[in-house]
Symmetry: C2
Subunit: 368 residues, 2 copies
Amino acid sequence: MSEVYAARRTRLRERCNAGGSAAALVSRPANVRYLAGAAPHGAVLLLGRTEDLLVCSGSPDDRPTQGRPDESLPVRALSGPGGDPAVAATDLAADQGAESLATEDHHLTVVRHRAMRSVAPALRLTDLGQAVEQLRVVKDEEEISCLRIGAEIADQALGELLESILVGRTERHLALELERRLVDHGADGPAFPTSVGTGPNSGRRGHRPTDRRVEEGDFLSVCLGATYRGYRCEIGRTFVIGTSPADWQIELYDLVFSAQRAGREALAPGAACRDVDRAARQPLDSAGYAEHLPALTGHGVGLEIDEDPQLAPAAMGKLDACVPVTVEPGVHLPGRGGVRIDDTLVVRPEADGGPELLTITTKELLAL
Amino acid sequence: MSEVYAARRTRLRERCNAGGSAAALVSRPANVRYLAGAAPHGAVLLLGRTEDLLVCSGSPDDRPTQGRPDESLPVRALSGPGGDPAVAATDLAADQGAESLATEDHHLTVVRHRAMRSVAPALRLTDLGQAVEQLRVVKDEEEISCLRIGAEIADQALGELLESILVGRTERHLALELERRLVDHGADGPAFPTSVGTGPNSGRRGHRPTDRRVEEGDFLSVCLGATYRGYRCEIGRTFVIGTSPADWQIELYDLVFSAQRAGREALAPGAACRDVDRAARQPLDSAGYAEHLPALTGHGVGLEIDEDPQLAPAAMGKLDACVPVTVEPGVHLPGRGGVRIDDTLVVRPEADGGPELLTITTKELLAL
């Protein structure tokens, strides 16, 4: 694996050099993990003029490392607690004779940036921008394989829940049970707080589980994901409780299902992100639900649950092959509830069979 | 409750005015919640020259609000998604005729700060520093009552776990079960990721649960906490599995117990934080465990699990009455395991009975 990380650092270094900086300091934890294999709490990665270094806090209390560190990368631990690895790394960059250092200004606080400036006043600090996030958008097959395993785990956890009795249980309990099952099946943990919504809460994006109990006739919507080796996937499904869904429930479900299918079918290398969004949004818009729609209908996933690209009306850019995204349109009607259907897929060319669906739980309307 | 938040804002305003700023922008979520009753995702609080405003993101996707907002506080929601409430609030401050605006430079990123500067170039941005964190250190009785309920919930969850069979279960399962029980008993959720360590993992601060199973003869250490109405408490205990603890286990336990008691007994209004730390650290130091000790032996708790004050060798400042802190010395011996005992207490004057223990689970060495 060590070569993978070294190759990623080489690509970043090429970008920095092209931008006029010989050195860069990466501080955002997911970016550190991407380039170094692991992100010990507070650690930063210095791409120096003469060597790369992982600079770690000196506090013995820090949470254990997540991930396996690239063993070819030298590690420098601060000698005592309380020091800031970003400040120490800035000092090291100056020692290596760098004239400028590119930093993650979207992650560093003003106070840390100020401390970095004052430790090496002669060093010019420039903005690295989202260069690492951009490198992270297209995944390699190793990364996709982690997402695939995470999706299998989420499918299993959801499948088991569906076999149990649901009526009378609270949203909170169902969410906790799903999270326990994720871990049972080998997840590092949930990819994000599991959302379970019943009745009027169904179909709300990011709904936090309450003490409301599942009742006959409810819509039940569930959104969960597993983290596996750091990679986070997402699945969302909506079910109906009881033997015979009401007409409005069947109609709304069919509508969201067709919108979600249109979004999935629009995924292709070269497709504009806003066109994918439009494909998923348009059927709901036409049916008169414009004001009940979320701001985005999908997003990238990876080491974070909410990555680039965004599938939204104002999104710029096009999809590439090997980009994993969610497609998750939904409608929530205040007071009544709603439907949300959410899959994680990998963009693949037509010749390879088109988009690869990672979350394979059925999207038929199940009456439970 | 509305008056409580208004009074807090008045105190902050007085500090700002004394510092030469007529307006302040609070962006750190726990600080927003402290001053406004609730912190909708991304919201910032403007203490303006003419009025206070809670400025919220315009995205309909944002996670529902935690806490109950102060209804006397006007709310301004941005009209569309994608806008930054901090930038909008800066603009509003300039509209109100403020000449300078104090901002939380330890929370704002360089990129946001730059955007705020460019939206109102004539406005002087100054650093508010940790003014709100300082206001938060001393709690009122309402806040302490939330911590007390949270501690009761954590005690209950832990007590129930101790009645179940432990041998053969994994650290991960025990941690998940504790978190489920916290929620069962009315917690908003866990106050931090529950830590369960067995055998060689016991006694490690912040240990992340693994698949190791509890075995006869193990030390088992558990650290958990409940969040109740936003307030977070912490309890840690170490047990021994099986009928007869080994001599080294009894000795180590007695030592950590006496250190923790010394720390608790040192809590008093006016006591220097470093003296409390020394009281808890010194027995372990003298017994030869200096290099196995954590960087701090306790810390404040409240809306965040790790607040000021810190109980550490280099800590400045003194304790006040009504400051809740943890006292949590521990020793971890690599390869063998260790002991950690952790309580949440409120500093109270001698005349009121001395420190108030919130986490009342026994600290006898239980053999389970």
